[in-house]
């Protein structure tokens, strides 16, 4: 392992240089060629470099790049996913796709790497906003209005969550001695209004990973996003959401059983809601959005457990991170791979095999963490098992529905996807699943025989259940948007617009009326009448006499 922290900076500088290259017309052609491989240095660094810290002298307020275990794992995940995005982009759009897209892509990539390497809070905020806005730039390129609307909602949520996070950091900043994560965590520990700050954290970070109240943007964006952008989306969501938790929230150092209980029940609620949504959801990527919600629910239950028994954190830390990255990779694999079987019947068996493996890996990740809680917190164990079961059930159900749909369409001769680029997706699909397998290896070792057996039992039962319910089709497809909240949002916006519009109109009208009534000419006109009378000789001289008399009388008085 090379101990050279300065190499870390290359990870960030490389994509930026390429972005500049793309913009400058001279080097545009070369830069576009290299663009897809921009994630390579991050991958190599993730593999070869050992932990370290790089102090950036001028940058922000004494900020530095931190490269530790969680950083490494998330960096690897983002690197792989961005590599996949690059390849998919090149494969799918073929021709020299819009220069604007590449610039946004490279910027988003830099942002993601920055997030995993950020050593201090402000750097992390910069990275999140950079990625958020450039991803928005990428997603908003689509022509049809529904995607536009969905992505706009996403942006609004992102911006609001950023502002909330910024306020939280300011609240912490008051107590923190400096701006980096460690100091922030101490600040978190010693604050009095813990619940206010935890609420802000939950809102700020939850918005990105689809917390219950803020999940409405997730499904539409997952469904409408362009094929090549899906891995990037997952990488942004996972790193923006989970790195924030891991770095900012002092897991293991703070003991708040009250909040823990509340969070636990929140997680249960989320799981129930996810089940409801999953069943009603027919679109294959919509389902994956629900899966993401389930993952978040599991994460919250784990956090709740740690809040109740902080000492669990030490042992749990490493596997939790690897489990999360594993789930991320598998989810992104499913995002690309699901539904591939339609156009390449020959690859059907390989596809079925990888799908099975993916589902297995996805569900085994939470189960592998069960061993930590088995003796301590039964509720968390139950939620983990239920979560895994739910995931399996929903995945299988969508798989069977896809199979049924495939038969129906093959009978009616549905449209054929373009064949050429689907091969790349195949390879990437299986590649990502294999990488997921590799990250899962350390966790699998932890599995006891009993858990493996019960896992397979669960797998079988879920398979049967999914097979039975594959014919139940929800009557009307769930709208693209979870309608109700969107309407509220729209009406609220228009109402505010009108209210402040009146403010504008009234102030103009007020100004005009003042000008008309008290205009100087109006006031002065009746002064000129007095002036004319003053100009008459007799009046003036009488006044003069009066003044003379006044003066002499004055003299007499105070003689």
């Amino acid at each position: 392992m090379i101990d050279a922290p300065f190499l870390l900076s290359i990870i960030i500088i490389m994509p930026l240089l390429l972005a500049v290259g793309v913009v400058v017309s001279v080097t545009q052609r070369v830069a576009i060629k290299i663009a897809p491989w921009a994630a390579l240095p991050a991958l190599l660094a993730g593999l070869l470099l050992d932990d370290g810290k790089l102090q950036l002298p001028g940058m922000l307020i004494n900020s530095y790049l931190l490269f530790d275990h969680t950083g490494r794992l998330f960096l690897l995940m983002s690197a792989i996913l961005w590599l996949a995005t690059g390849l998919l982009h090149q494969a799918h759009s073929g021709a020299l796709y819009a220069q604007q897209k590449i610039v946004f892509k490279l910027l988003a990539m830099t942002g993601c790497f920055f997030m995993s390497l950020a050593g201090d809070v402000l750097m992390f905020m910069t990275a999140t906003t950079l990625t958020g806005y450039s991803l928005y730039g990428l997603l908003a390129q689509e022509k049809n209005t529904t995607t536009r609307e969905a992505v706009n909602v996403m942006l609004v949520v992102l911006v609001v969550s950023d502002i909330v996070l910024f306020e939280l950091l300011q609240l912490l900043g008051m107590h923190a001695v400096s701006v980096d994560f460690i100091a922030m965590r101490q600040a978190f520990v010693i604050t009095e209004q813990m619940n206010v700050q935890f609420g802000l954290l939950l809102f700020g970070l939850g918005a990105k990973i689809g917390l219950l109240g803020l999940h409405f943007w997730l499904i539409p964006v997952f469904i409408t996003s362009h094929l090549a952008l899906r891995p990037a989306l997952i990488s942004f969501v996972f790193s923006a959401g989970f790195i924030g938790w891991l770095r900012l929230f002092p897991l293991g150092e703070v003991h708040y059983p009250a909040i823990g209980e509340l969070l636990q029940w929140g997680a249960w609620l989320m799981l129930g809601y996810a089940l409801l949504l999953g069943v009603r959801q027919i679109h294959r990527r919509g389902v994956l959005a629900v899966l993401l919600m389930i993952v978040t629910a599991l994460w919250l239950s784990i956090v709740a457990a740690i809040l109740i028994q902080p000492e669990l954190w030490l042992s749990l830390n490493r596997n939790l991170v690897s489990a999360v990255t594993q789930m991320g990779l598998v989810l992104s694999a499913l995002m690309i791979g699901q539904g591939l079987h339609k156009h390449k019947p020959a690859w059907k068996h390989r596809y079925a095999l990888t799908l099975w493996l993916a589902i297995f890996l996805l569900t085994v990740a939470p189960i592998s963490l069960v061993s930590h809680f088995v003796s301590v917190n039964s509720l968390t164990v139950a939620s983990l098992w239920i979560g895994a079961g739910l995931m399996m059930f929903i995945l299988w159900r969508t798989h069977f529905m896809l199979l049924a749909a495939a038969e129906a369409s093959s009978k009616s001769g549905g449209h054929k996807m373009r064949h050429t680029d689907s091969s790349v997706t195949h390879y990437l699909f299986s590649g990502l699943v294999l990488v997921g397998l590799m990250t899962a290896v350390p966790n699998l070792k932890m599995l006891s025989m009993f858990t493996v057996f019960s896992l397979f039992l669960l797998l079988g039962s879920m398979l049967v259940l999914a097979w039975l319910t594959r014919f139940y089709k929800p009557t009307e497809p769930s709208q693209l948007m979870s309608g109700f909240i969107m309407q509220q949002f729209k009406q609220g916006r228009s109402m505010i617009m009108e209210m402040t519009q009146y403010l504008d109109i009234y102030s103009n009208r007020l100004q005009k009326s003042i000008k008309k009534r008290f205009s100087p000419i109006f006031v002065l006109s009746h002064f000129s009448r007095y002036e004319r009378s003053l100009n008459r000789w007799s009046v003036a001289l009488i006044i003069m006499v009066l003044i003379g008399l006044l003066v002499s009388v004055q003299g007499l008085l105070n003689q």
Partner: protein, 104 residues
Amino acid sequence: MNIPMIYALLGITLFSVGLYGLIVREHLLRKILALNIMGSGIFLVLVALGKRSVGDLPDPVPHAMVITGIVVAVSATALALTLMLKLVEVSGSAVLHDAPKERS
């Protein structure tokens, strides 16, 4: 109430009559006359009060002042008359209008 005091009182009455004329009468020639009468009134006051000196020689300084005053009065009157004539030539009336017409 000796003689000089009477004449002094006459002087101030003449001054007031002149002032009254100046205020009330509108024709410029009359105003010039009024000014002259006021002037004589003031000269009267000057010389009359000068007479109160003991001995036979009345105070010569007011006399000198009055002679200067008379010359100044005549030059002012001459100028006023010429100005009035020019004004009449131009504006046609020897009365200082309060310029309602020229109020632009």
